[in-house]
Structures are given as C-alpha cells and as structure tokens.
Symmetry: C2
Subunit: 367 residues, 2 copies
C-alpha cells in the first residue's frame, strides 16, 4: 500500500497543502466555484495521503478532459428528487461527483441525527474518488458510515468473458475509542485496474487470480487483462468463491443505481474512452447513530476490545502485525502529512502542463 | 450447490412437509411452544431446500445437545432493550436463534414501513440457521432486506495463524419483476467448514485457497484446516486480497455484536465443543422500503434489466449460464418442493434416534 512510491526516484515529495492548492486552482480555472473545487481537491489528495494512488491527483487529467469536452459540468447543481425523514434521492446534475457525494453524505448524517438511521441514494453523478472519504464523514458524529458507488465496467462476472460490472467499492467507517477507527474501503474486484498498468510498465506478470483474458480464463498477462479481458471479482475463480465478489458488486449496483435511477453495469461507458455523454454514475450512503443502540462510550470500548483481539491473535512466523482495515492508511496519512506526499513525476509533469494551459501557478510542484 | 446429494445412494428423499413436521415435533418435545418450533423447522428445512445442507436439519442434533445441556433455552423470551422509530435492540434471552431473528426482522420491516428504513440489532441469541431466510422476509413487502450474524470462530485473519473470527455471513435480498429476486447469502470465508468435513470423508485434498494449517500457511489437507488451522477469508491469501474478506467479517461483527452487546470474535465458544454457558450470538437486520426511493414497479423493471445484462453477457466456452445470486437456490427449491429433499442417511438415523428418545414419530423418514 503506497510502498512502491517510498524513496523512489520516479516520485517527488509535495506537501499536502501545496498539492491541494494546485488541484483546487485547476478546478477553479475550469469553472468550478472555489468551495466545490476545494472539496474535489480534498478528496483527491486524501487518496494520495492514504496510499491509494490510483484514485489520487493522477486522475485530475481525466476530470479535465471530461470538463473540457462538456461531458462533466464544473457547476454542480444538485436536485432533491424525493425525500422522507430517513431517505433521500439526489440528482447530481452531471456535476462533480465529489461535491454531490459530500452533500449526499451530509444529508444522510443530518437525517440520521434526527431519525437514528438514514440512507441517501444519488443519480446523475460522476466518479467521486475514494468511497472511504464519505464513510469517514460519519466518524466525528459518533455514527457508523457506509458509502457505495458503481463505476465503469472492469469486472468479469463468474462464467463470463467480458467486463460488464464496475469495481463497485464498499466503504464502511466505524469509530473506536483509544484505537484508530475501523475504515474498510475495498473494491469488489481482487485488484484495481491501476495495478495492471503498474505491472505492464514494469513488464512483470500479474499473480494468477487477479485478471482474466479475452476467453474469460485466468491470465498472468497484465496487458491482456487490461485491454481484452478484465478483473476477477473478489474470491477469484468459482472454485474459490469468486461468485461472492461478483454478487457483492451486483449488490452495490442495486443500491447505487437501480434504486436511484442511475446507469448500471455495462450501461456505463468506460472512463478511459473519450465520452460524449454523461456517465450517470450512482452512489449510496447510509449513517447509523450509535447512541440509538448503545452509549457511544461503551460502543467505543467494545470496538477497542475487538481490535485488541485481532492485534493479539497468534501471527504467522515472519509477520509482526495483524492489521485492522484502515490502520495502514492512517499511519501512512500521518507520515505523509509530516514528510510530504510522493507524487509520480509523470503526474507532476501532467499537472504542470494543465496548469500552464489554464494559467495556474504550479511552481510548488517543481524541486 | 447441493449437487453432491442428487441421486446419491447415501441420501433418501423426504417431502418438505414431512421433514418440517418431524423437526417441529422434536422441538416441541424439547419444550418449545409449537409456533416457535414451527419457525425453527421452517428455517432449517429452507436451508435443505436451497441446497445449503450444512445449515439444514443435519444441525438438529447440535440444538438438541445444547437444549438438553441447558445451554440454549427452548423458551424464547425476547426483551426490547432500546428503541427509536428507526432502530431497536433486542435481547433473545438465550432462546432459539431462529425465533428471535424472525421477530427482529419483523420489527425492522414494521419500522421501515413507518419510517422508510430501519435497523434492528440483537444480542443474547444463538445460531439462527441461514441468514438468507430473514433477508428474504423483506421481499413480499417490496423492501430490500439485509441480515448479518456473527458465529463461532473458524476464520483465520490475514497474517494470523489461529481462527478468531466467525464465518460471519452477509445476506441481501432484493425484489425483481419478471425475474426471480436477487438473494445473496454468503459466508465471508472462501468455503464453509462443512466442506472440510465432506473432503475428509471422501479422503480428497481441498483446493488451495480454502484453508490454512496450524502455522497459518495455505494447506490442501482438510483435516489440518478443520482441526488445527482454519478457514481463509474470502479472497484467500493477502496477495489475492484476503484482507477484504477478513475486513468484511470484522464489519459483520461490528453490526451484529459490538453494536448490540453480544459476544464477538474469539469471545464466542466453538459450537462443536460441549458448551456450558450461553453463546450470546449477535445479529443485525435492516429493511429499506423501495417506494421511499422510487415506485416499486419501476424499480423492479430496472432490476430485471440488470439481471438481463448479466444473463446476456458473453460466456466462457463450455459455460451455458451466468447466474444471479440466489438463482440456483430458487431452482433447486422448486425442484425439491416437487420431488422431495435429499436427506443424508446419517442425518435420518440421527433424527430417528432423537425421535425415539423424545417419543416423536419419525416413521415418515423411513422408506
């Protein structure tokens, strides 16, 4: 997790503050209101802080392309389609996914504050970055947060030979007491598409179980999986229960898209392609107020105990730690907030070029 | 899925009605009220109908043992610990898990009917059979249903060498229109413990990726995984993202047990052991009223379209169908309701013996 970028000559350290400023300015120059641009920058940089480079500032170029092609609107006009005391349906108006997602999770939290638990579904949105960002918004409110989103097809279902489902991530955030919160943020594929690119660049075979070829058979060739086959669902082939990961991915599409009116499965156009129409991505958010069930102080002590039981379990020889979901990412974030965020030189070059074109000062990215 | 029992000389066909009657009578003889015994029988037989033999009537002997040892009470006294318009905490009073779980899901459905969505968490319960049974209770109400439960430790977390988490299943049921509903009902382990027993009996190696040995290393020896190691989380080893299945399992423990006051993780005593104290198992149930988000007729058409996209995806050569979660189980149920349920001769022998001891007529199980 992020280890590849540590002390690597292909990366340059940039401070969180500088990186956020550059990304924000780029989105402002593209026509986004400063407050919205700030949200987009915060979510993208949060991914880099947490070591999820595939969803970080390296994606700015994709947003820029789509905004320039009038496929994403830099002005995010959110409509409330339907509402009850515990539910809402929002339409993101084909604006910035991060802005709509943030508003939707705020709505879920506010409704849960009044009602105990609440769920908000979203249509008419775009790729929103890391799902974990929105689930974690529940933490300071002593709530449990859930965030789901569908995405462009990359997953090949069990017995299929074509990618027809997204990597459809599931993010769940739960507060703890003395320990760091539990934050699960997982694609329902075994590996992310970005890993295929890394292995292609390094000319290394991928581990068996990550991807399939154009015939739907397991492959170790990252280019074949990337260009012609697709990614395996969590669990791998049927023999090791890959149909469970496929089933989870379908479930994410149900909550995010079937329920909201968004596009789903192969209806979504691959992001890598030059699109001419709106993606109509869907999201889903839930929040549970812990004190509806138990005093939060007691709950947090119990979470600490659960985490303790995992940490103290007997370990495989050679392994020093058993991790809780999110633990590595919190540690990485703390280090990168102090030492800076490693940004790939190609990404820096790309941001600088975009900055030049838009009149945004990217001097802080240079050594 | 259930295929091993088809046309197998070690199995005898018993009608659904007869099997339910025998199981019900056994629980009545043990002291359960007839209505409660009927719920237990319905849930156990539903597992056999759906081909989930590991959770079917073969488990009756375990309940009988625990009731006789005064470890489970046949009288299920459910207490409402805490309540809001959208949430509830129930204590199952160490009674029959199926009875408490059914009441809890009914509570979630009734609250969702009033409020839009609702969640109910349960402590002081016991093993409740298949999670899918309770999630599916939402379907006739045009709701989406979710059911989670924790269970005795069988899963070895990533980098550990001891089973400290349950198979902690996730069940999700979603209504469709012309198509059968989507019903995901999955353990968060790769394979169930029952499969280790099957492979031990047949003296066959298990596929690599199902279990680990006492050192926490992948093994193909089912006895080693069963007796000394444990089951791998969905995803297998870390290289194929087993930490995701481990993370999901932990999440199930959070909702089912940390939030309810139940025991969790290695606090739960293995069911196979002779227990002397209550298991204090926890469950979690949620229901979402579809018309809070979208007219149910429109939602169901959209579900049909999602299912259609999966069915019509290009297939691997040699495979004729791509399945939706629950589809195989619905087809099997329909066939077994007509032709009878294959029950293993050992299970029949066991039920007959219990029947003899309790004065329950098990003649219908004989040829």
């Amino acid at each position: 997790m992020g280890a590849e970028s540590e002390g690597n000559a292909e990366y340059r350290l940039v401070s969180e503050r500088d990186l956020r400023r550059v990304v924000k300015d780029i989105f402002v120059a593209l026509g986004a209101p400063p407050a919205d641009a700030d949200v987009v920058a915060a979510v993208l940089v949060a991914a880099d802080l947490r070591g999820i480079e595939s969803h970080g500032v390296g994606r700015v170029r994709l947003y820029v392309k789509d905004i320039r092609n009038n496929v994403i609107s830099p002005l995010t006009t959110i409509t409330l389609v339907r509402e009850s005391p515990t539910t809402a349906v929002l339409d993101g108006g084909n604006g910035l996914g991060q802005v709509t997602a943030r508003r939707a999770m705020e709505t879920a939290i506010e409704k849960a504050r009044q009602a105990g638990c609440a769920s908000v579904t979203v249509r008419g949105s775009n790729h929103f970055g890391i799902a974990g960002y929105y689930a974690m918004m529940a933490l300071p409110h002593d709530m449990i947060g859930l965030a789901l989103t569908n995405s462009s097809p990359v997953m090949v279902p069990t017995y299929a030979r074509q990618a027809v489902l997204g990597s459809n991530p599931i993010a769940l955030a739960v507060p703890a007491g003395q320990r760091r919160p539990y934050v699960l943020d997982m694609a329902t594929t075994v590996a992310p598409l970005g890993k295929m690119e890394v292995y292609m660049r390094k000319e290394l075979p991928i581990p068996l179980g990550w991807g399939v070829d154009r015939e739907g058979q397991p492959t170790t060739d990252p280019a074949e999986a990337y260009w012609h086959g697709g990614l395996m669902p969590l669990g791998g082939p049927a023999m090791t229960s890959g149909y469970k990961g496929y089933g989870l991915s379908l479930g994410v599409d149900v909550f995010s898209a079937v329920l909201s009116g968004a596009s789903f499965a192969s209806q979504i156009i691959p992001w890598q392609n030059t699109r001419t129409e709106a993606a109509n991505i869907g999201h889903f958010f839930s929040a549970w107020r812990i004190d509806s069930f138990m005093p939060p102080s007691e709950f947090k002590e119990r979470m600490d105990e659960l985490i303790h039981l995992m940490h103290e379990a007997p370990k495989v020889v050679g392994e020093e730690r058993i991790y809780i979901p999110g633990e590595k990412e919190f540690e990485l974030t703390e280090r990168r907030q102090k030492e800076g965020i490693p940004v790939h030189l190609k990404v820096i070059e790309n941001l600088s070029q975009i900055g030049d074109e838009l009149g945004v000062d990217c001097g802080v990215l240079e050594p």
